[in-house]
């Protein structure tokens, strides 16, 4: 195998090395496929196969209250475009994902930077940081339900006591604040996820780079913008991508915290698809929703990857 010089500062995650071998199939490639085989096999069975079934189902009119099923092509999808509640859920999902991921990234970055420093009790702080992620969603959602309670919740209590607000806010009962409350709960719970991945990325930055920068007289801020941040981009990219995919499919939190209410203001695609499939029994319609979700997420992923590619190219070029 020809030697490939891979830089130790891989800012561009997307550049996939082209195989530089001459023969079509050779030992390294075979071994590579062999290593991949178990994972791909399992995912085909538990992932791809069910997905294809769902997709297939979306072209029929399967419903729990109807016997038999007929092929109806794209009719389910057409109906979705006329469904106001679907459109509301679609919009809510994008809003939830965008704001959630943005806030989590910023907070996660800050937390990772702090945890990267050596100080007494760091281990305990690290363990503490993970706690929100570790609590079962079923439990943490109920917890936030009480915290946000308009009359008896501790949030209003503290806000009124400190004079930040005049009277109790009905966080989960007003269409204007419910989404914010849901996003806040989600950010609290999943920031550790981001922080952990970014922290691992921080660890990969060689301290010798900082030492050299210190010698050159660069201050902390310059060090951050020219060394830390560019080198962190791969980790941040991966974290953002993974989190965005998860946020788009959020379910447990919404279901327990608000049930999609009030007035569908927190209804997201997953919860609406769940209600359609299991409560209304419109199996095919739900399958169409899930398929549309997958397509949207796919587009989101491609766009994110593209943007990140561009951003890191710029930074690489600017160095």
């Amino acid at each position: 195998m020809e030697k490939q010089v891979i830089s130790s500062t891989p800012a561009n995650l997307l550049v996939v090395e082209k195989p530089k071998t001459k023969r079509k199939f050779n030992k390294p490639m075979m071994i590579g496929y062999l290593f991949l085989l178990p994972s791909l096999l399992i995912l085909c069975v538990v992932g791809i196969y069910p997905l294809i079934q769902t997709l297939y189902l979306s072209f029929f009119d399967v419903s729990l209250t109807k016997q038999g099923s007929h092929f109806i092509g794209l009719e389910n999808y057409k109906n979705l475009f006329n469904d106001i509640w679907f459109k509301v859920a679609y919009k809510n999902t994008w809003i939830f994902t965008a704001i959630s991921v943005l806030m989590e990234s910023l907070l996660g970055l800050v937390i990772a930077l702090v945890l990267n420093k050596k100080f007494k009790g760091r281990g305990w702080v690290r363990a503490c940081v993970l706690i929100p992620w570790a609590i079962p969603t079923v439990v943490s959602a109920r917890m936030w339900e009480w915290i946000f309670n308009a009359e008896y919740g501790i949030l209003n209590f503290l806000l009124v006591k400190t004079g930040i607000i005049d009277s109790n806010v009905n966080w989960l009962g007003e269409t204007s604040t419910a989404m914010f409350a849901a996003i806040f709960s989600d950010v609290w719970k999943t920031t550790p996820f981001m922080a952990l991945i970014i922290l691992a990325g921080l660890q990969g930055i060689s301290s010798s780079l900082y030492e050299a920068a210190d010698i050159d007289g660069a201050n902390k801020w310059r060090q951050f913008s020219y060394i830390t941040f560019p080198l962190l981009i791969p980790s941040i990219m991966i974290a953002v991508l993974l989190r965005a995919l998860d946020a788009f499919r959020v379910f447990d939190l919404i279901f327990v915290l608000t049930g999609g209410g009030p007035a569908n203001s927190t209804e997201v695609l997953s919860s609406y698809a769940y209600k359609t499939t299991f409560s209304a029994g419109e199996v095919s319609s739900g399958a169409a929703m899930s398929s549309l979700m997958a397509v949207s997420v796919f587009v989101l992923a491609i766009v994110l990857l593209f943007l990140m590619n561009k951003a890191s190219e710029k930074i690489e070029g600017g160095k």
């Binding site: 030697k3 891979i6 130790s8 996939v16 195989p19 490639m29 071994i31 590579g32 496929y33 991949l36 178990p38 994972s39 791909l40 995912l43 992932g47 069910p50 997905l51 079934q53 769902t54 990267n116 100080f119 702080v125 690290r126 503490c128 940081v129 993970l130 706690i131 570790a134 609590i135 079962p136 969603t137 079923v138 439990v139 943490s140 109920r142 917890m143 936030w144 915290i147 008896y152 609290w188 550790p192 922290l199 691992a200 990325g201 660890q203 990969g204 791969p234 980790s235 991966i238 993974l242 995919l245 998860d246 499919r249 379910f251 997953s270 299991f278 899930s290 398929s291 979700m293 992923a301």
Partner: protein, 274 residues
């Protein structure tokens, strides 16, 4: 002394982080120590009477131990499998000359794109069909759905951070691909493995939808199902629920503390000094 002052922004931030992350959790701890009837009264924030009743209730409920055992078996198995298979796949994608890498990466990514509810019915049919209903294996297999893509994508990123020089040295010394992967790359990947491992473990520990659909008895039910079984008719034992959530979070905290060092070990870790 000056060092502490210099570091005080860090300490302040650390404190802020702790408060932000911990406060709701502390609220749960307090709830678990209150009598149920004091639950929603504010003030006082702290209970007048501390009661250990809720913790007692849980320990007396013999099913609780089984739920924890089941969760542990499933979570550990899923984590080990995902780390092993995932790192193999990630290594292969990062280092070996595979044709169609982007496609394969996209494939891993795409399995994370459908919502859980989209796969649940076909998956249920599958698991029932091959006789894995209400078994550890059934859960483990279905958890691969989120565990594998997560592991592969994370580890792929971390693998690319390892300088090629180290592997080159290994190849020069006559190591084959698997040996290089196993003995050289993996140890360097410790922080990445711990990160991925923790995230997969926690996801398995707290997974609810699959757990309640693919199991029907205490033989295989996990903690989230146990928590869902706590309500009696409509009545929810809030204190017991809070105590349970504290208890099931403790093992996770322990895990983090144990692996804490590995988490933040530099990837270089003295490997290239020579």
């Amino acid at each position: 002394m000056t060092k502490t002052i210099k570091r005080s922004p860090v300490y302040l931030l650390a404190l802020g982080i702790i408060v932000f992350q911990l406060a709701p959790f502390l609220w749960q701890v307090i709830t678990s120590l209150k009598l149920d009837k004091d639950l929603s009264s504010l003030p006082p924030i702290f209970p007048n009477k501390i009661t250990w009743l809720h913790y007692q209730n849980i320990f007396q409920n013999t099913h609780f131990y089984k739920y924890i055992f089941n969760s542990a078996v499933v979570a550990v198995s899923v984590t080990l499998l995902c780390l092993f298979l995932g790192s193999l796949a990630a290594y292969s994608l990062a280092r070996l000359p595979i044709k169609g890498k982007s496609l394969i990466l996209l494939l891993f990514l795409s399995t994370s794109m459908f919502p859980q509810i989209a796969v649940i019915t076909p998956l249920y049919n599958l698991i029932k069909g091959i006789g894995l209903y209400n078994t550890y294996f059934g859960l483990i297999l279905s958890y691969m759905l989120f565990g594998l893509p997560l592991s592969v994508l994370l580890l792929y990123g971390f693998f690319r951070n390892i300088p090629y020089e180290i592997e080159e040295a290994a190849y020069m010394d006559g190591c084959g691909y698997f040996r290089t992967y196993w003995q050289v790359c993996l140890p360097l990947m410790a922080p990445g493995l711990v990160t991925a491992g923790l995230l997969v473990f926690i996801a398995s520990w707290n997974e609810f939808l699959f757990a309640i659909t693919f199991t029907n008895s205490i033989e295989a039910q996990t903690i989230p199902v146990g928590i869902a079984m706590m309500p009696q008719m409509f009545f929810v034992p809030w204190g017991d629920t809070a105590a349970t959530s504290i208890l099931v979070t403790l093992p996770l905290i322990l895990l983090v503390l144990i692996f804490e060092k590995k988490l933040t070990q530099g990837i270089m870790g003295g490997a290239v000094k020579g």
